[in-house]
């Protein structure tokens, strides 16, 4: 009998149907990959299995978890089931832990809530064992540590320790590595596989990234808009790919936009020996503040028409460098030149430079219409267009990013994530800049939307002669869209060169580590796609 058996499950939240008659099962010791884009209902399937649904949700169908009919259990029995029969790991490790309780108490709580007779001392002892199993050693991570004293990957290990403390039969992991760096992601995936093998647990691994599950899942379920479009053994499913959506997902994940922009020899942006310090908090009231060097002696240049990638993990100084290039902050050493002139406090230079940020939801003022949002960069011009001229510019910008001129009188909440990112690009190109900084600009997008946006960027670079600086932690994207790449670590550039050369023959050990850690689709499957 299956460990978890979901049959004909439908779920509505209010009047919206989120899941349509889905059926799947997981056996003990098995890893099931559930793949889908945002809104596919993959997380809701997990929450339905735990019965941790939003208030107005109603379920029909059947969910059997180790012989119990989950949908007919009382709230009291559900509390006994959660954490005991099934554990859950979430996407955002930074916020998944209570900031005011230490990690020992939080892990021990899982034990004490289900075994009220266990003494606090014994519960803490077992919490220690669970943390040890998650490779958080006692000397570096005593039970008295607080979450804010740990990194994202370490916090995710604590969340996993909480989930497995009672040795549940099933573990549900909802995008457990999406918010983490590639090397940390690889470690967490390895840990999950180890725990599954040791305890003979079933694992439901929810992700949007095919490559993450390709070499770990025994079986795969592919979801779209609340339906299961295809499921089966991983190898067989990848080999046949009977559903067009599965194929489309595959193609999008390894999508390579066609690029044929002309690269000129003249440098457009020159970053010369730039260093950037941040002040640390004073240790004593009148003590001098210390400094932290976030970027240390970085030099590089971008040629006109070129697309340059900047990769590195969180905390490597990418964002600080971006802010320095944009002239948002003064640098302590060195200089940033655009077309030979300094960027800082220089409006005539600044207008040649625009930026697209990561978060398509947070980077717009929700009370402005699209018209005002995308015409804002015009303030950089001495004589901004007015009247018909302005309308023409707005229409052209919207059309060039694949939207319609009628969209300019809408508000930002009326658009999807992908459309918003198009609007962000329209805002960047409207004053015809020379250089666009793309700061994780496609990281928050689903693979199919990401492929479209990458195509759009390639097209625009040709038609407007744009130069890109592509800042990302996602190696596959950088590989597909850049000519040259810089690898950054600890505030310094450790390797740079032609993209294909750096990826195929990395010379620095850190680059090698990054490339090895990045999840890849199996080579033979790529050919099928």
């Amino acid at each position: 009998m299956s460990l978890l058996q979901i049959s004909d499950l439908s779920l509505s939240i209010g009047h919206t149907q989120v899941l349509h008659n889905i059926s799947m099962d997981i056996n003990a010791g098995e890893i099931l990959g559930v793949i889908g884009e945002s809104g596919s209902g993959k997380s809701m399937t997990a929450f339905a299995s735990m019965q941790l649904l939003p208030e107005r949700a109603t379920c029909s169908g059947k969910i059997m978890l180790s012989g119990k009919d989950v949908l007919s259990l009382s709230e009291r029995d559900l509390c006994r089931m959660r954490g005991n029969d099934v554990g859950m790991v979430f996407q955002e490790p930074m916020t998944a832990l209570n900031p005011v309780k230490n990690i020992g108490d939080q892990v021990a709580e899982t034990i004490r809530i289900h075994e009220p007779n266990v003494s606090k001392k014994d519960a803490l002892q077992r919490a220690r064992e669970a943390l040890n199993r998650c490779e958080l050693s006692e000397d570096r991570f005593p039970l008295t540590r607080y979450p804010h004293e740990m990194s994202g990957g370490q916090r995710q290990r604590v969340v996993i320790a909480m989930a497995i403390a009672r040795h549940p039969k099933l573990l549900i992991a909802d995008e457990p590595t999406t918010a983490l760096d590639v090397t940390t992601q690889a470690e967490i995936l390895e840990l999950l596989i180890k725990l599954v093998r040791e305890d003979g647990m079933g694992l439901m691994m929810i992700t949007h990234d095919l490559a993450v599950v390709a070499d770990m899942a025994d079986r795969i379920v592919i979801m779209k808009e609340g339906h299961i479009v295809e499921q089966g053994e991983t190898k067989a499913l990848f080999a046949s790919m009977s559903h067009p959506y599965t194929k489309a997902l595959f193609q999008a994940s390894s999508h390579q936009p066609e690029r044929n922009a002309e690269i000129k020899e003249t440098p457009l942006l020159e970053v010369k020996n730039v260093s950037r310090d941040y002040s640390l908090p004073r240790k004593k009231l009148f003590a001098p503040a210390g400094h932290f060097r976030a970027v240390n002696g970085v030099s590089f240049e971008i040629k006109r028409g070129e697309s340059l990638g900047l990769v590195g993990e969180s905390g490597c100084g990418k964002s600080t460098l971006t802010r320095a290039i944009l002239g948002l902050e003064a640098v302590q050493e060195g200089e940033v030149l655009l077309d030979g002139a300094p960027v800082l406090n220089n409006r005539s230079v600044r207008r040649k430079l625009q930026v697209v940020f990561q978060d398509p939801y947070g980077s717009f003022n929700p009370r402005w219409k699209v018209r005002r949002l995308i015409s804002e960069p015009f303030y950089l011009l001495d004589h901004p267009p007015k009247g018909i001229e302005l309308e023409k510019a707005l229409d052209e910008a919207l059309i060039s990013v694949g939207l319609s001129p009628s969209d300019k009188d809408k508000y930002i909440h009326e658009f999807s994530g992908g459309q918003r990112q198009r609007i962000a690009i329209a805002r960047a190109i409207i004053i015809r800049p020379d250089l666009i900084l793309l700061d994780e600009a496609v990281s928050a997008l689903d693979v199919s939307v990401r492929a479209q946006v990458l195509d759009l960027l390639a097209e625009l670079s040709k038609s407007y002669g744009l130069t890109y600086l592509f800042i990302s932690h996602d190696l596959s994207v950088v590989r597909n869209i850049t000519d040259r790449v810089l690898v950054m670590k600890g505030g310094e550039i450790v390797e740079q060169g032609e993209t294909h050369q750096v990826f195929d023959q990395p010379s620095h050990p850190y680059t090698k580590k990054l490339i090895n850690a990045a999840p890849k689709l199996p080579e033979d499957l790529k050919d099928i796609a």
Binding site: L52, G83, T95, A96, N98
Partner: protein
């Protein structure tokens, strides 16, 4: 925690010093010599000079600041120009009423606000929530002096449960009966002061708790097997407390001297009345001292709130 404490003590001392300087300079640079003011316009220059010497006004500004400051540290606030009695004594007489009144009102306000705010947040959108929100809206909108008069009419004049005003002549007295009589005299004023504060506090508690209940770690706690109630008590409440503590700190400082209208209605000789009289009689030294005392109270309360933050949130302790 010790380092956090020491850091806070340092900034406490510094703020007090700066505050004393600002108050002293502000009062001293105001034109008008207290001695000539006290003796009237027909006074002889020699008399004024004699009084200036008596009041210690004939030395330099710095010297006077230093005398004032060291005096205050020893509990000597100078002598009132109008009443010719030590300011410290006057303040002490008033504090015996004002301080217990403020504490009483604050305790009442917290006792009302916490359950109301928690209840409204956990039953969001229900009839309970709507009623709590409605009542607190009224509590904020209705002026407390109107409410005070209403209570006098109902509880003092009609029901005769409490007296309509005043404070026992013997103060807090020695016996339990004296103590109860004093408490009884402060009850209606404390309720009148507490109600608007409780309304504000309940709303802050509700919204802070609602924010906390949507946090990811609440979902994590539920996934561990905690019931809704356990999640509330073990995880949500402590995290929701920081904004609530801030408001409590602000309210206490306000209650200490802000209750002048209530003091008037209930004929309570409190700090509010004292400062009001001192201002109308140009008794600058009393004004100076009471203001300094209030600043001191505000700073001490903020300091306590800061320490409470540190207890509630380990992130603040480590300064991150």
């Amino acid at each position: 925690m010790l380092r956090y404490f020491i850091k806070k003590i340092q900034s406490l001392a510094l703020s007090l010093l700066v505050a004393s300087l600002v108050i002293f300079v502000a009062v001293e640079v105001v034109p008008g010599d207290p001695a000539s003011f006290m003796l009237g316009i027909n006074a002889q220059p020699e008399t004024i000079a004699a009084l200036r010497e008596q009041l210690g006004l004939n030395v330099s500004l710095w010297e006077r600041y230093f005398t004032w400051l060291t005096g205050m540290l020893q509990g000597d606030f100078g002598t009132s120009y109008t009443y010719r009695t030590p300011v410290a004594e006057m303040i002490q007489d008033r504090m015996v009423i004002s301080l217990p009144l403020a504490v009483y009102a604050l305790v009442l306000s917290t006792l009302i606000a916490f359950p109301a705010g928690i209840l409204a947040a956990t039953k969001r959108g229900s009839a309970t929530d709507t009623s709590v929100m409605g009542v607190t809206q009224l509590g904020i909108a209705i002026p407390n002096f109107w409410f005070a008069m209403l209570m006098v009419v109902v509880f003092a004049i009609n029901l005769r449960w409490f007296s309509a005003g005043g404070f026992p002549r013997g103060g807090w007295g020695d016996s339990f009966a004296d103590y109860m009589a004093a408490m009884k005299a402060l009850t209606l004023p404390a309720i009148a002061l507490a109600l608007p504060q409780a309304s504000i506090l309940a709303r802050v508690m509700r919204s802070s708790l609602l924010d906390t209940l949507t946090e990811d770690y609440i979902r994590t706690a539920r996934a561990k097997g905690l019931s809704k109630r356990q999640t509330l008590w073990r995880h949500a409440l402590r995290n929701a407390l920081i904004p609530v503590l801030t408001i409590i700190g602000l309210q206490f400082a306000f209650l200490l001297a802000g209750g002048i209208i209530i003091e008037k209605i209930f004929f309570l000789p409190g700090l509010g009345q004292l400062i009001f009289q001192a201002i109308t009689q140009r008794d600058l030294i009393v004004v100076e001292s009471v203001v300094m005392l209030l600043v001191f109270a505000v700073i001490i309360v903020n300091f306590t709130v800061d320490l409470a933050y540190g207890l509630a949130d380990p992130r603040l302790r480590s300064g991150k």
